[in-house]
Symmetry: C2
Subunit: 182 residues, 2 copies
DNA sequence: GGTCACTACTTGAACTCTCAACTTCCACCA
DNA sequence: TGGTGGAAGTTGAGAGTTCAAGTAGTGACC
């Protein structure tokens, strides 16, 4: 992915005032193959699941994920920020999403009694019904695209690898740039 | 991810006229952990790279990927459909994207001499310049988020796994629902 | 050489997401 | 008790994406 760029860059003079840390650590050919495979698979997979869910359930994959989180939560309700955190998205994105899910009748908002700024997103009966109806199709799509194609070792590996990457992107330090704190 | 849904579904009567193929093959707890890790990592990673590139280079990650493809291509030009195929996106999405990249001066369109319906997307000098300037920062971001955290075995594994998934999502059959044929 | 199915690409509207305000409320502390 | 800084959530505008429909050109067949 960076080969041709490197060719262009390598004969370039280092900018004198540049405050970077040494020469760019380009990806090796093998690393490039891995990275390309990742980009292609994740692009195709997200497209595939979005399309399946949009067609069958009338919502994008992320929105479906929000309903799942709510279904898993005690009393099928979660504070907005908790939900954003759990879905790894910004509160703004969530606000818009919940507005739309509310319009579809699958989620409703409730005020938080203990904190007047707070809002709960609550899965409605209609929301549960839509999940019952479409969960099987969705799991099947995930299976076909991912689990049916991987050996148990590869599945284990995938979980470990993605766990490491996810962890690395949400450092515990204060001031970390996490979507739900933006 | 599907546990609570299962709980709701399992005591449900099978719809008599349903034309599905047997009971839903729910994900096991372990599969759910893997899937959740994948969703979280890919969400966070795409957010991270989008943000880095938007801040530094003024474009989203996908658009940057298009410039990379063009930089790698002979004469730094590709037919629209080839580019869409190589980036795994729809031609419509690409049309809009190229329109924007053209407005920024990083890409220009050229007519195809041999097929009057055809268009080339061509990386401009300004486009090459923007890549020279921002490739190092982007590679560094990818390294920090992914390669620096994985062992060589994990990297190899990741490449194989994502290769399998990508392959599975672009079957060679005619009539396959591929984004760039939509 | 006419027509017809198909290919290449674009377009506009509806939808989603980002970014930067903005409102409201909480917690702390003087 | 009355600031004040930060937290919770929303909003609107602009950017990006999808979907369905459109234009225009190709090529194969009769």
């Amino acid at each position: 992915m960076f080969k041709e760029v490197r060719r262009t860059v390598e004969h370039m003079k280092r900018a004198p005032a540049s405050a970077d840390a040494g020469p760019p650590r380009w990806l090796t050919d093998e690393e490039q193959r891995v990275w390309r495979a990742y980009i292609e698979a994740s692009t195709l997979l997200e497209d595939h699941l979005d399309r399946q869910l949009q067609r069958d359930a009338g919502m994008p994959h992320v929105y479906y994920g929000l309903l799942v989180k709510l279904a898993e939560a005690p009393s099928r309700r979660l504070r907005m920020t908790e939900l954003a955190m759990s879905a790894k998205i910004t509160r703004s994105r969530l606000s818009h999403a919940v507005a739309r899910l509310e319009k579809s009748g699958w989620v409703r908002r409730e005020d938080c009694p203990s904190d007047k700024r707070g809002q709960f997103a609550v899965l409605t009966e209609k929301g549960q019904e839509v999940m019952r109806r479409h969960a099987p199709g969705h799991v099947e799509a995930v299976r076909q695209a991912v689990f049916d194609r991987l050996t148990p070792e590869q599945q284990k590996s995938l979980g470990e690898i993605m766990g490491i990457i996810a962890e690395g992107l949400q450092p515990s330090e204060t001031g970390a740039d996490l979507p739900w704190l933006r």
